[in-house]
Amino acid sequence: MSPKKNNIKDFFKTLPKNIFSGFVVSLIALPLGLGLAMASDAPPISGIIAAIVGGVIVSVLGGSHVTIVGPGNGLVGVLLVAISTLGIESAYVAIMCSGVLLLLLGFFRMGALADFFPSSAIQGMLAAIGLIILGKQFHIMLAHKINRVDTIDYLMEIPNTIYDAFHYDDKGLIFAALAGVLSLAIMLFYSKIRNKYLQLIPAPMWIVILSIGFSYYFELILHKPNPIAQKYMVSGIPSIQNIIADLPVPDFSGIWSFPFWASVLALTLIASIESLLSIKAVDKLDPEKRRSNVNRDLKALGLATVGSGLLGGLNVVTVIARSSVNVNQGASNRSSNFFHALFLVLFIVFFSTQLTRIPLPALMAILVYTGYKLASPKIITKMFSIGKEQLIIFFMTLIVTLKIGLITGIIAGVLTTFILHLIINRNLGYGLFIRNLLKPNVLMFEEQGNKGSYYVSVKHFCSFINYFRLKKHLDAIPEDQDVIVDFSLCDFVDDTVLENINSYQELFAKRGGHFDVVGLDMHDTETKHPFSSRRLLPVPKIIKNSLTRRQTSMETLAENYSLEYNPKKKKDTSFLNSFSFFRTKNINHIYNKLSHKQNAITLFDIEFSEGEFIAKEVVRKSMLHIDLQFDIPEFTLDKEGFLEKVSAFAGFKDILIENHDDFSNRFYLLGDNKAGIAKFFNDDVTNFFESNPYYHVESNGNALLIFGKERLASIKEIKALYDFGKRLKDVIPSS
């Protein structure tokens, strides 16, 4: 347990960093807020209002640390229905009522609610929401506004719209469609280009900047009107005075109708599920490894939603993509959420007229991309690899959601899952579920005489229905301790539980604990996927017989230098967790490993991801790991550049080494233990770094991690990297 820190001092020390990340997040929140509101048929500003009200209230009262709140993707589908059936005034009342329900959920400690849904059903629901967003906005993106009743009709019309787009006569429409297609291209290819100056501004903001720039180019340089058709421009952004003057009057007249309460329930359900899932995901990214108080967050979100509805805003939920950007930009506490709201206020006050220069199709391209990410074919292949029955649940939920509605959809998903579980386990007898449903089937105790080691045994069955019992016990264990979960008395374990167990394993690994699962060896499974119900034991991927050219060259390289080469993907990357570089990143696997028996140097390719959801970027790099047998101070060393100067401004301090001005000027050195670092960088070491090529070098206390480019290294670069590492190891003082 960490000692009590000087909180206020810490707060001010990290304030610049939090302001900076709040700023970057507001750059995404602005276009997303406008887009999500418009996709829900609400006034565009209502999305921004939700983000502002949410940001202020949740940052003050919330229980999580680095999350960002605002209008959510998941709610678009529900809000669309609510606004079209109730009208916007009553919809605001529905939003407020759902806020009150969220508040109650928080008070009744229902933060575990999201654990009651099978993961395939949630995936199906999210995919349906993705299709609702994509189906409707795709047409606007190509400047072909249509009105249909059913989401499926919108999807069916997509080929027609594409056909029409090639045959526009109106120049305004052509430009509008071009803006949409270009924006979609930016969203698609942004993560592929790894240039740190380009990456400083998030993709959605590039779209905003470029389209505003485009409009000014026509106005100021060509002195022509904007060629994009006027009806495809964002409209109805009021100035700040108007927002305050035109506060909507809530219309309470329709609140005793059935559709009203159906909407309220749907809003509450989706808002809580989306928030809880996001909080869980962001907790894994938190560099300071804190645990969020979900019930407190729910209360804050509820209150924020009431406030937002009152001021004419949408539901406030915790959002994953913006939160992950927040973490990546170095946010460390809730103040970044507050500043993100503050910057949004500034944007609205000073730039609200500029926003009308954004073409609608460009904004909708962002949403099309979001929708695509929610319903991407990758999800279906993943489902299939877990088991065929998952696809049935997934499509059942998806189709019912599209055809009838979200609540019916998720209920259908839950029922389908339960029935499938009964069918899969028919040989165990149907009594298994019914008889044992209410039994407290989880035993957890700390082993006496073995401090910090917990044993958890699960009996009968463990599926989404009674997972909350297991979760309650697992949550009572600090993440830096050792846990053994024993399923040997358990007849059936489903994929939802295994997926959650897997995320516990990652969490414990990141925080220095151990989380082992035993007793699943006797269980039978459908597929080889580790989440496939009933068993775990990850089976190594089918060995690919054909190596790529790079791999064969690495093989020859290994032979020439008498190294060992292993092209297989390895999931065990726990030795990398303690490096600060990976604190906010998820490591997927390492592969193409070159290692030497004696000198403890290993070179490998690594795949990791940064951010979540639409802000997710999968990165592959080549890295060198040197395992030193002794302790050295922890530090990070990189090339000094413009960005480092900016971040120095935001609170990082470069450590200067005396008498080595050249080194201090050219390198950027970070670390807590200044005296130790100054001692470590003696004349030999500084001289070595000065006279060799630049690499990013990082120490975690007893090992070094070295890498260069933001991509995989070529064979030549691998040789250079290996040589660098070998020589560096000789220079390092061993005391």
Partner: protein, 282 residues
């Protein structure tokens, strides 16, 4: 405090395939405890039945087994209960039923009724066998209850008589004892501190009980204390199962009402899924 609680042992006798195994278990226990064995049969007395029993129990003659056969007609539950009262039986042995297909044991309806109403101690056997299966590990409850001291003392007596090497005392602590709920790191820390305090308190309470037991019963035994935060009655059964205990010893429940059966607790959990042989001490 009496150290030998079992002076007379009773067992219901029905002529079933399990008869021999049941009788052997009961006879062995009677020999271990030096108790008189009462064989209670619901039905008419007959020469044939008595002969059959004496043939089966012939091998115990050299151990000086003292036994008596009681024949009585009527409802099995009433017969067994009334006989055990008449004969002042201290320990009643009942067999469990195995659920088809799966390896799970539960207590049948007659045995369950007897368990609920009996005024003497009850031993529920899951796998009676003709050959002796040595009893190595005994799990006993260490609940905060007036009966617990007697229960733990008797457990050590049983351990000595049956040559069990290991005794684990499980202190079940209800979740309601901890005032804090786990929400975040801070409350988790507070919960863990609270838990540690309760564990220390419970351990010292049980150690106090053990110190009152005569040394000859506790020496050479591996004694383990294990506090568990969980549902009373259920967790101890689960623990006995995973620690592969051979015998689970528990307090008899204080009183049973209709509601207790609807919302199972304590002993009722054990009756629906027997983890191992269970001894319920009155």
């Amino acid at each position: 405090m009496s150290l030998n609680p079992f002076k007379s042992i009773g067992i219901g006798v029905a002529y079933s395939p399990n008869l021999k195994a049941n009788l052997f278990e009961a006879a062995r226990l009677s020999v271990f405890f030096g108790a008189k064995l009462f064989l209670i049969h619901v039905g008419e007395a007959s020469e044939e039945k008595t002969n059959m029993l004496s043939i089966i129990l012939k091998s115990f003659e050299e151990d000086k087994l003292d036994y008596e056969v009681v024949f009585k007609t009527g409802d099995p539950v009433d017969v067994i209960l009334s006989t055990s009262e008449e004969k002042k039986i201290d320990l009643l042995i009942l067999g469990a039923v195995r659920r088809e297909q799966i390896l799970k044991y539960y207590v049948g309806s007659i045995a369950r009724k007897i368990t609920r109403q009996a005024k003497c101690s009850i031993l529920l056997l899951i796998k009676p066998s003709v050959e002796r299966v040595p009893c190595q590990h005994i799990v006993v409850n260490g609940l905060k209850d007036p009966k617990t001291e007697q229960t733990i003392t008797s457990a050590f007596y049983v351990a000595k008589q049956l040559n069990a090497e290991k005794v684990t005392i499980v202190e079940e602590i209800g979740q309601d004892q901890i005032a804090v709920k786990v929400d975040d790191d801070k409350s988790l820390r507070r919960t863990n501190i609270a838990k540690e305090r309760i564990e220390l308190r419970e351990n010292s309470r049980v150690k106090e009980i053990i110190s009152h037991i005569p040394k000859e019963y506790t020496k050479n035994k591996t004694i383990k204390l294990q506090p568990i935060f969980g549902k009373r009655g259920y967790s101890i059964g689960h623990y006995a199962q995973i620690s592969r205990a051979d015998l689970l010893i528990m307090n008899a429940p204080s009183k049973m009402t209709f509601l207790d059966r609807l919302f199972p607790h304590d002993i009722e959990h054990i009756l629906t899924e027997l983890p191992t042989d269970v001894l319920i001490l009155q």
